[in-house]
């Protein structure tokens, strides 16, 4: 796996059912194990090491799963994109960047047949906050997407980019594609 694929896979994994399952498991398993132990044996000296043991075990399982399942998860994502019926370019380039920073995405649409009215298209894309790029009717600029949850201390990630891209496809592009078939969608970072 190339490094940019690995970075993309890590982000995709977090929003994949397996990622959710392992992350919830990492929280729930130690709590459930400790609660069960307390109910069964009423022994705090046994429960505390069990709690930490299970906790670190599941956390390790999460990282191991993310590492081991990365290729599968990426393949899943690719299959989903392929099943949409239109070509999506740049999806993994955006989320696999080495240094994620706050920024905007440019989305360029290419229709197979007659394109919809530009004004209508603008209002559809507005549902996810995208605005028409100046100079082109089929190019749209996303709202500013953040690259970390907080200001300091939180690490940079492209997970918000992926979330916005998914929202774009599920809420906007799939309904548009049903009426005005799309040929190609290009996603890229807006250069500043």
């Amino acid at each position: 796996m190339r490094p940019e694929e690995r970075r993309a896979a890590d982000v995709v994994f977090d929003q994949h059912p397996w990622g959710y399952a392992l992350l919830f498991g990492a929280v729930l398993c130690p709590v459930a194990a400790a609660a069960g132990a307390m109910l069964l044996v009423h022994d705090l000296d046994a429960t505390v090491p069990l709690f930490w043991g299970v906790g670190f075990g599941v956390l390790g399982l999460y990282f191991a799963g993310r590492w081991g399942l990365g290729a599968r998860v990426l393949a899943d994502e690719r299959a989903w994109l392929a099943s949409l019926g239109f070509e999506v370019n740049g999806w993994f380039d955006v989320i696999g960047v080495e240094v994620p920073r706050d920024g905007k995405l440019r989305v360029t649409l290419e229709f197979r047949g007659t394109p919809p009215d530009a004004i209508e298209l603008e209002s559809w894309l507005g549902a996810v906050g995208a605005e028409r790029a100046s100079g082109s009717s089929w190019s749209f600029i996303s709202p500013r997407i953040r690259a970390r949850a907080g200001t300091r201390g939180s690490s940079f990630t492209t997970r918000y980019y992926l979330a916005w891209q998914k929202r774009l496809v599920k809420r906007v592009l799939i309904p548009i594609h049903a009426k005005y078939p799309l040929a190609r969608v290009q996603v890229s970072a807006v250069r500043r």
Binding site: E120, S123, W124, G126, A127, I176, A178
Partner: protein, 219 residues
């Protein structure tokens, strides 16, 4: 599918309108304040009425809550007043202060117009861009001109730093800094000096040596 696209278009239009209005609000906020706004804010900032209003609205609910809880023993009501009233009071402060400032500006205008001699430049000085500097007060007398000793005596009562130069009173250099540069400079010191000069020099002087006019200006 068309229904879905129509709903999507409605959502999109709403969101784009919201974006546009947010952008407009941002532009309006970034625009420099109008001259009247600046003068009104300077006057409101130094006004006892503003101070009392802000204090009453922001601390009032808490005080009422303490009274209710302590003296009346109505703990539930006290919590409700404190928790709901304090944000409401702060909100009202934010919303009412600009209105009060406009009222105070009108009152100040009327007050300056009602002085026994014409005063020029009062509002020009406090509505200008707040930059450090000196202020001059140039006096014109209707008849007899007082000698310098009389003026000096009055100025000494005013403060130690205002000086006399010909027919003009010269203010100290206003710096706008407290160790580091003031991040929000205001014309407040200029207004204070103007008021002090008016109260302790011009009005007493006018009784003996009638003034034709007084003019405040930056050199």
């Amino acid at each position: 599918m068309t229904d879905e696209l129509d709903a999507l278009a409605r959502q999109g239009r709403r969101r784009l309108e919201k974006l546009e209005s947010a952008r407009r609000a941002k532009r309006a906020a970034a625009a420099p304040p109008s001259r009247d706004d600046r003068a009104a804010n300077v006057i409101a900032g130094g006004s006892l009425l503003t101070f009392a209003g802000v204090l009453a609205l922001s601390a009032g609910p808490a005080l009422v809550a303490v009274y209710l809880g302590w003296a009346e023993g109505q703990i539930g009501l006290a919590w409700a007043v404190g928790v709901l009233g304090t944000p409401l009071g702060v909100f009202l402060c934010v919303k009412l202060r600009p209105l009060l400032a406009v009222y105070l500006l009108a009152r100040e205008r009327a007050w300056v117009a009602a002085l026994p001699f014409p005063v020029h430049g009062w509002f020009e000085v406090i509505s200008a861009e707040p930059v450090p500097g000196r202020l001059h007060a140039t006096l014109e007398f209707a008849g007899l001109r007082p000698d310098d000793a009389t003026l000096e005596r009055l100025i000494e009562k005013l403060d130690d730093v205002t000086s006399l130069r010909g027919h003009a009173l010269v203010s100290p250099e206003f710096e706008f800094s407290y160790g580091v540069d003031d991040p929000t400079p205001s014309n407040d010191p200029y207004l204070s000096w103007q008021r002090a000069v008016l109260e302790s020099v011009l009005l007493p002087l006018h009784r003996e040596f009638p003034l034709a006019s007084a003019r405040f200006h930056k050199p």
